[in-house]
Symmetry: D2
Subunit: 337 residues, 4 copies
């Protein structure tokens, strides 16, 4: 079995992690090329990981014959263009979220994917590949919790990263697009349904800087889905305890909670603060295995000639919903889908 | 120190519990009279608890000279009238929630209370007297969690009591009035603020019978409070695991969760179902001590000539809010306060 | 039904708590007399609790005609003599543990009890009256965990009370007698069996002062019971997190853990220390209800003319076992019962 | 950087897992050869994993020039001989525990290792490579819990695998050698000390079949270590809830608990059994990552020319201790080291 030769684009924190995963933790794959505009960073990573091809220009990467697939961990604004270009060059594409920074861009990405049915395209909704989320989804799909009544999901970044969040605020698209997209994806995945209405609120509770971007440091929304399920999402940037991603699905016959305590590991500390669990610090720690699993799935799809369960249309749909949430938040009005 | 002589009205489940508590667990009080329309039940309870005075008519009870105070655990529709009559007869009054079944009734109760500043009036928001809620409130009031960002509270009755809930549905006023009033009270108590807007949804996920009363078996609402705090409330009648009342207050500096696992006691069972906690079965079990504490506070206020922290206006305000939530639920529209 | 008139002896921390409980939380009982050698403390408590009779001499208390029963919370060295004297005076007796400070003394207490079959005698093994321990015991007795394999029990006092523990060390009898007696009682209660062998170790890990009393600041023992059950007990005085009393019973079909986290209440705090439960601070907080329940049982036994499940012989047996554990600890040898 | 070419020996459950890990999850390594006496199983695994060399005879494997290192997951009785032969053939060796089935055998292995200082030898104490155990060890080593007072460790296999355990009993060496060796290793690792005395008990609580091998289905021992630390170990084969490996280290300043709930993942289920965590089913699930980490460490040591922290002498010492525990268990006597 030949290995899938991957070129990975972007060497930010997550990009570097993907590069390391492809180099050492993904089966049937090899990290053939790296691409980043920062030449010294590129050299450093490529040397360390023993990557033969290095590019500072994306166009050169996709022109490279030794590459079967690209993994995009580039800035969001570049995603759509890179997806189209890479697929036009005959490469399979794995793109980190978001699919595009506007719905119009997402539609372009759809066209690129539709134009290349022979290629694999996959979007990085890594939570679906987390062992706990997968396990819960299987239970729900097997009917163990009955009909979904309430889906509640939180995405909270730790307060200690607030400086970066403030700096990134003008480009983040706001918390519904930047953070809640993962929860929106989960809500659709778990309920098998789509939103009908949304009411969104929030504000700047600790950091007024977000107001300039029409965002808050903490926001939430309540949606009614077509199947009747209530969906409550909360996204925040000031979590005092760590990186907190938790989800609850209340069904008529059972309830599932995923990561209601964002424990770092299985160690419990008993000291003068009480009995406590230390928490995950960031998404890389929490979703370490999920990031491996999702790229493994991408590679397996390429090898076996199958299509990923997450489609480009999921990417568009999630973006549409997130934009409607954002509009609801900005207007203060109840919005219908 | 003379004991406060109490006449307790109503011998339903909670009424009986209050009677037993007054008879044996409240200091500086004695259960002097019982009142219920069901004569055999009245005799049985009074005999068992050694209560000298028994009445099937409320008017006779309040005419009794040996009584200083009444505890009302009668049907909700009788509350306002009984409050007025009892205070007119010079009795201190403790009334179970709700204050009245309409806001107009609540206003009448306000007048009765205002007309008798020499008497103690107290409303039974027992959660404020639960040790865990009190402890959390003190931490929040001491500034330990910073500014409130999100207040989330659940009230879930177990599925196994669904038959009673269905039978009671036409008279319950709906879940916002019947159950969520406690959460509304807590939201005001913890945030020190009032709602500005509400969006409410829900439905009949398992039991269509509630639709006839314009209610659902599970409902929720998202409110924005004047201080900016987001408030999400959920009330349900189909909890698979037991009686679940839980609250979370996310602040800018810390988060408090009260009873996120509705554990019955401190026993953990490890068997073929995993590692598990068995759950509280009903409100009497969960709030056993709180029911004692609230009546103790009532008695202490009478003895010390002070006024309870919970006022008649809190009762009115909570009812107003619950009615607005109900209207929002029925209309499907965003409502402003 | 007449109330049981109780004279309570000793106004240390636990004595005061018992007095308050009898005055206000025990049904069918009244606190008729208090006795303590410290006259000002006696006056203060008696005034506050409205107690008519006050005695600085135990002999006067038991001579009082208005008293039906005595509750002994006096220094351990006085227990046996007071039990005998009180029963000779026709009083029912509830005594805090230990029954006596030597096995010989326990035998004397047995004689006093045997000489007065018309009177109720009860020993204060309060853990049996804790809701969680009772619940677990019922499950075990119902066969839900199968045959007992391992019984493990911890008694840990918080480090912050170490100064008191060091001061009391010469009179405490050592940790097996002072603390582990409760665990020994539970082991016999849960397993229905008796020890055959014991190996005991420990030492002064933080506080060398205990060595002068041939004690350690932390000790443990492993016992084989006659029914084959393994019993591991641990007692410590340096718990960093609070007052920790926990028990695990591993059976062939299930496992029960009681208070594996010594949580103060149902509040969970999420802050920069992680996700945490604050802990019980001392025995009065942890066993608050149990102290009420045990005296209530004593009173109920008197009223109904029945005998408590805990007998004087249990007191003797537990002392014998604790003394053997102590001897094993001091000798370093394996001992047989 | 050249990859370390590994030949893996033995294709039982753990052997297969190691083979899969080397093939796909270990960086800088490749699975070059497989060896098992079962030819069809060998072909199946080698084909599936794309392994070029296949051997049914161990001698042929170590004669293969394309192999740098061997991983031994063969029957325990073969370990010592294979270690010696492989090192004589110039191969680095990773051996699963135990080092040998007798202490004499362990000494032979020591000689082989001493004779080849240029080669890496490592023993598979995988728990040291579990993220939670590592994290706890670092805290302990950093002094965060003060001086060790009590080290408690459990190893429990689930009841549902009892048939296999009974069949394997005559060859297992008993639970101290078969299971508790891991706990013994952890005790030495965490305390940095060695045992002085041991008292061991246990029996056949559910399955009398183990008696024929002088073993029990559940056993325990209490040891005093030279630094004063108390060490309590429990090993059982009848866990009702799953595969349970948990450890507690009580120090004078803090307490660490590792996996006190053997949770399968981060999902919490709330249903008619209560609020529960489902449990790990077996060692492969629980220590999945640890098995990867330990072989990664072996490979890294080879590449960087360093020696693993776990030495051959640790293997001998743990075996010696386990044999003494076994002797103590069989004799019923207190034994000294």
């Amino acid at each position: 079995m030949n290995k899938v030769r991957i070129g990975s684009v972007g060497l930010g924190r997550l990009g570097l992690q993907h590069a390391e995963n492809i180099a050492g933790r993904i089966q049937h794959a090899e990290l053939t090329a790296l691409c980043d505009v920062d030449a010294p960073k590129l050299k450093d990573a490529a040397d360390r990981l023993g990557v033969p091809h290095r590019f500072t220009a994306f166009e050169e990467l996709i022109a490279c014959k030794d590459i079967d697939a690209v993994v995009l961990v580039s800035p969001s604004a570049l995603h759509t263009g890179q997806i189209s270009a890479a697929m036009a060059a005959g490469k399979h594409v794995f793109s980190e979220k978001p699919l595009g920074v506007t719905v119009a861009e997402c539609r372009e990405a759809e066209k690129a994917v539709e134009a290349h049915p022979e290629l694999v395209f996959m979007l990085g909704f890594m939570r679906r590949f987390d062992e706990s989320y997968k396990y819960a989804r299987e239970k729900a799909a097997a009917g163990e919790i009955g009909k979904p009544v309430l889906f509640r999901s939180y995405s909270q970044d730790p307060e200690k990263f607030i400086a970066g969040a403030i700096a990134f605020a003008p480009h983040s698209g706001g918390q519904f697009l930047d953070m809640a997209v993962h929860d929106i994806d989960l809500a659709r995945w778990f309920t098998g349904s789509e939103p009908e209405t949304v009411y969104a609120i929030g504000g700047c509770y600790a950091h007024p800087e977000f107001a300039a971007s029409k965002d808050g440091d903490n926001v939430s929304c309540l949606m009614k889905f077509k199947n009747g399920c209530m969906v409550f999402l909360f996204a925040g940037r000031t979590a005092p305890h760590g990186y907190n991603v938790e989800t609850e699905i209340i069904g008529t016959k059972g309830i599932l909670r995923i990561a209601s305590v964002p424990q770092k590991n299985l160690v419990e500390v008993l000291d003068n603060h009480g009995v406590r669990r230390e928490c995950s610090e960031n998404f890389l720690e929490r979703f370490d295995t999920a990031y491996v699993n999702e790229v493994q799935e991408f590679v397996d799809c390429i090898i076996r000639g199958k299509k990923p369960a997450v489609t480009v249309y999921d990417g568009t749909r999630v973006s549409e919903i997130a934009y409607t949430c954002k509009a609801a938040f900005e207007s203060g009005e109840l919005m219908k889908f």
